[in-house]
Subunit: 467 residues, 2 copies
């Protein structure tokens, strides 16, 4: 039997694309709608104090009884301040999770970390923890931290945003998933675990590194589903960042092309196409209801993987820069290469791609294809395939708005313009491609919101948020 | 503006995949259903004689008055045998197009040629033309003919099949499209044009080479749409080849896997997925109605093109043989590589592909990936994407039978088994993948049928069959 295809009893190990429980996803028989309102609690008015009940239930979520950091800063196992401190007007008395307050999304290629820095002045005796938190943030945001590859996207920083009963600044940080262990060691060395916090994570890595984090840092890990985090993150950012989503006007004309802000708030239903290493497509039907409808393994990881193989480039930025200079028509077989011109019967201009990489069968063409042409062909192939998938999902779900997200679109205006043009072309102007400024950070934002909301969830369900 | 994307007034030359008039194709507003019964006339009972009217109308279809080869063999411009020879029972008196009788499908990568050899004993004075026809067939079927790459698929030969009022043998021949000019010169040199026949062709090359054929060979070229030819060819072969279509039982188990004959005759509706250099998906709703619903440029040309680039292989057979030995898991990023195991939330086994070529970002993995692993990864990527597209089209059209065709599946049991498994897995057994023995020849067969039917069509419509 061919390698890679294993048969016999039990689940065969044939390679199939990820996300193909999607046949069911398309039917309404599973992927129960998720109540996204459970996942975010932005701006709920409460007072700043800890409730014993919450503390116990929060501790109960862990493997062992743990010390708890009160918001007033002192470590203790004695009773916290009296219940009189608890706002009577609040149905859900506040729970302030230990600092630092961050959410982390460990993806197939990149780790996305969102850190919330409250701006309110904390009691003096919290100064020590606040200082220690700043030390950690300094390292989190230092390029030297994990193999010179950690980056803080300062241009995405959001000031004065509310989370729960706090107001503060959101910081956006990313580094390669391959540096995850290094990051954990560093965070430990810099005292993250001495603050005895709970780590909240989403993305596949939250599962892959769970044991390691528990062992290395003696920390409780709360894992959240990446798609639920993504959707709640989108709703939160869209609500608190006025010009977050936009579309391209005249995407193919350098002179007149411009970004036009276009809020998607409450414009349901719409599709969300998240392009990371692989691709996942969600149908968002309301603020509280979404389901995953399809996906493909041909995503950002495919672009970079093939680029590295074909051109010797080493980074996503290199690959994108190379592709921007290239011409895929030196690599692909076009309609005109087969038909000698347009394929009028199907209104296909001669320049449309009939067969991606179809000219590379010919030794002469291979010899003449430059690295930038190959990079461009990979970019065009991956982008067209994602656009095609999105178009079919949009038709299937009868929606006319498709929001493209994910780090594949970072510094990648070629793909965004191509998607904008293609969606418009294929739908004859009926379907609009939208994009969002915070590209790949929505999952991490949703994870942070879950963390801030953790105590409340524990209070309600008496369990961890592990889904 | 990035190279490869041209803007400004007029149609922008942005690369988009072929076949994307498909948004309309999915709607019912265009791609008018084609009456396939017009395209085939298999087995209509008539007598063997030419009708002057048909001859005149056939000649009228050409650019200039032409000599006509009567079925009795002699070249002449005098009146044919008296009308008393014409069967009274035949609504459409027979038209016998000039020999040799063949249809040719000039695709993006391969030329497919189907030749019909009548078995009836022809009058003695036809001997000369019959001999000349045999000379041409000899060259058509000789490996030396066009760069050692022409192949006659003897195992596909069909004996004793009826076309129009004749019975005979169908021969199946293929050679690279790159050898098309060579083939035209040879056919000319061997007297094809001295027989003064009309050439019937389909596929993109029919359009690309039209001028060349008219100029070089002074022949009339009748072009037929490739998808109409494909569908009529499928109906004809399915009708005259008992065990043409089949599915795989236990596709992943070498011990128990077997081909099970499964006729699709009149089992409408079903999807036809034609995998050539690119991919086209048709919904066949009845014998007389089909429409094109989708397509992708990631097809057989993509597999071979990337294989040549990544492994240095030169032929499709090499690429497939290499892939059969490889393991894509040394190249792709699997769910378990991200999640550390299964992604239970979506019932995804750890071995499913999360990101095609996703491990090739890592220099270590790149160093360790063998050519056969890369070839396998390309095959898995292309095959999964086609299966995914087909699955979505099937759900969209609510059909449970998908027929996969095209030369990409030739000697490619890996892809056929993978498609069989994947369609079953994604649909939870609701959707069946079917295959057909004559893989890539249906378009050429349909073209031959059109040629045999030409006089009748001219008689009806008084025009050429050029669509």
């Amino acid at each position: 039997m061919p390698s890679g295809i294993r048969g016999g009893p039990g689940r065969p190990r044939i390679p199939i694309q990820a996300y193909y429980s999607s046949f069911d996803g398309m039917s309404d028989t599973r992927d129960e709608p998720v109540d996204a309102s459970d996942l975010t609690n932005a701006g709920a008015p409460t007072t700043v104090v800890a409730s014993p009940k919450r503390l116990i239930s929060a501790a109960a979520a862990g493997d062992a009884p743990r010390k708890v950091l009160h918001i007033n800063g002192s470590f203790s196992e004695k009773e916290p301040p009296t219940s009189s401190h608890i706002s009577q007007s609040d149905d859900h008395p506040p729970f302030n999770p230990p600092m630092p307050w961050f959410g982390i999304d460990v993806g197939g290629t990149l780790v996305k970390l969102v850190y919330f820095e409250p701006q309110e002045v904390l009691p003096e005796d919290a100064a020590e923890e606040v200082e220690q938190t700043k030390v950690i943030l300094k390292y989190l945001t230092s390029n030297k931290t994990y193999g010179d590859t950690g980056i803080r996207d300062v241009h995405l920083e959001m000031k004065g945003v509310p989370i729960d009963h706090h107001t503060g600044t959101l910081h956006f940080i990313r580094f390669p998933s391959s540096a995850m262990e290094k990051f954990i060691h560093l965070a430990k060395a810099k005292g993250l675990s001495s603050l005895n916090t709970t780590v909240c994570a989403t993305g596949g890595g939250a599962f892959a590194y769970e044991k390691y984090i528990r062992q290395e840092m003696k920390l409780e890990l709360n894992k959240f589903d990446e798609l639920e985090s993504l959707i709640s993150g989108i709703h939160y950012i869209e609500q608190h960042h006025p010009e977050e989503s936009y579309y391209f006007e005249n995407p193919l004309n350098d002179e007149t092309c411009r970004k036009v802000p276009h809020s998607i708030r409450d414009l349901y239903p719409y599709l969300v196409v998240n392009i990371g290493s692989g691709v996942s497509v969600m149908l968002v039907e309301s603020r509280t209801k979404f389901r995953r409808v399809w996906g493909t393994s041909i995503g950002g990881g495919t672009f970079l993987g093939l680029c590295c193989l074909l051109t010797g480039c080493e980074t996503f930025e290199e690959g994108i820069a190379l592709a921007a200079k290239g011409d895929h028509r030196n690599v692909d077989k076009l309609v005109r290469d087969i038909y000698g011109g347009d394929y009028s019967r199907f209104d296909l201009p001669g320049d449309t791609v009939a067969s991606s990489f179809g000219q590379m069968l010919d030794p002469e063409w291979r010899k003449n294809a430059k690295p930038e042409d190959l990079a461009r062909a990979v970019l065009v192939t991956v982008t067209n395939n994602i656009g095609s998938l999105a178009m079919m999902c949009a038709m299937n779900a009868k929606v006319d708005k498709v929001v493209f997200l994910g780090n594949f679109l970072r510094v990648n205006s070629v793909s965004m313009k191509q998607l904008s043009y293609a969606m418009d072309f294929w739908s004859k102007g009926k379907c609009k491609a939208l994009f969002m400024e915070h590209e790949g950070y929505f999952g991490a934002v949703g994870c942070l919101l879950e963390y801030m909301n953790l105590g409340r969830q524990n209070a309600h369900h008496g369990g961890s948020s592990d889904k």
